[in-house]
């Protein structure tokens, strides 16, 4: 895997996602990855979110936090 692909994977691992017409959109970096890169993002995201949840006092990953922030209007 070259450095450019590694950077794309790393960006897609973030829970940040753009908003498109009021809905959650795909990450631009994810769209630039091939199928293997996308599968790697899935596998690594599972591990990363488990780690984030384990570190969080309320057991929430960054995915959970971003959703709660959204429904609380922050």
């Amino acid at each position: 895997m070259n450095r450019h692909t590694r950077d794309l994977v790393e960006q897609a691992l973030s829970a940040w996602r753009p908003r498109r017409r009021g809905a959650v959109g795909g990450h631009p970096a994810w769209h630039d990855l091939d199928a293997d890169g996308r599968r790697l993002v899935f596998e690594e995201t599972e591990r990363l979110r488990a780690m984030e949840a384990a570190l969080d006092p309320n057991g929430l990953s960054s995915t959970g936090h971003t959703v709660l922030a959204r429904i609380r209007g922050r």
Binding site: A15, A35, T45, L55, L60, H65
Partner: protein, 207 residues
């Protein structure tokens, strides 16, 4: 999609308590009443199973976006949810919503109907209950984070503290790093953490 958020006024008597232990029925009632802490507790339990149910779509759908959109939709439809008496009713609903969203994305991307059917069948087989996290994991992860070298630790903590609400470009700027340097440091931190956790005997997810 979060139409329930802006106009939502907390009702009198609705508690917002992270450490409260509620029965499934009481928890659902709290969510319906607009208790975001109760919803957060449900999200913490449901997210791993929800994400795992989307594994077969991983090469063709951004599953992180689908998971987030699904959780927002569950929040919006919860007031109309009618339990069927089975366990984890709201989570099963979430898995169905997620699968439908993923299939819609496949159709939008003009994936062959035969392939859509195959992925959907695979997803059906994956929607099993998840396992609870190892209670000792938090302590081990915190110790591993502390052992990371300076810049990787700064970068991964920026990511974690941002909670998905800021792009990497803005996090890199806040950390005083170029974007590619920031991403390299996050990667170094992730790899360092995984090695440290493996050395500590941590078991991940479905591993």
């Amino acid at each position: 999609m979060c139409s329930r958020s802006g106009s939502r006024v907390p009702r009198v008597g609705v508690t917002s308590c992270w450490s409260c232990s509620l029965s499934p029925v009481d928890e659902l009632q709290a969510i319906v009443a607009g208790d975001t802490a109760a919803f957060g507790r449900w999200v913490a339990r449901a997210e791993p199973r929800l994400r795992a149910s989307l594994r077969s779509f991983a090469a063709q759908v951004d599953t992180e976006a689908v998971v987030q959109e699904t959780l927002l939709r569950v929040w919006n439809v919860a007031p109309r949810f009618e339990p069927d008496g089975g366990p984890d009713g709201l989570t099963r609903l979430a898995v169905r919503i997620a699968r439908n969203l993923a299939v819609s994305e496949l159709r939008r991307a003009r994936v062959e109907p035969v392939e859509v059917d195959r992925l959907e069948r695979e997803a059906e087989a994956l929607a099993e209950p998840g396992t609870p996290p190892d209670p000792l994991l938090r302590e081990l992860i915190a110790a591993c984070v502390e052992r990371l070298p300076g810049k990787p630790r700064v970068a991964i903590l920026q990511r974690i503290h941002a909670r998905g609400n800021a792009s990497d470009a803005s996090l890199a700027e806040a950390a005083g790093m170029k974007l590619n340097t920031f991403l390299q440091n996050v990667r170094r931190a992730r790899i360092g953490l995984e090695r440290c956790l493996e050395a500590g005997g941590a078991v991940w997810g479905d591993a």
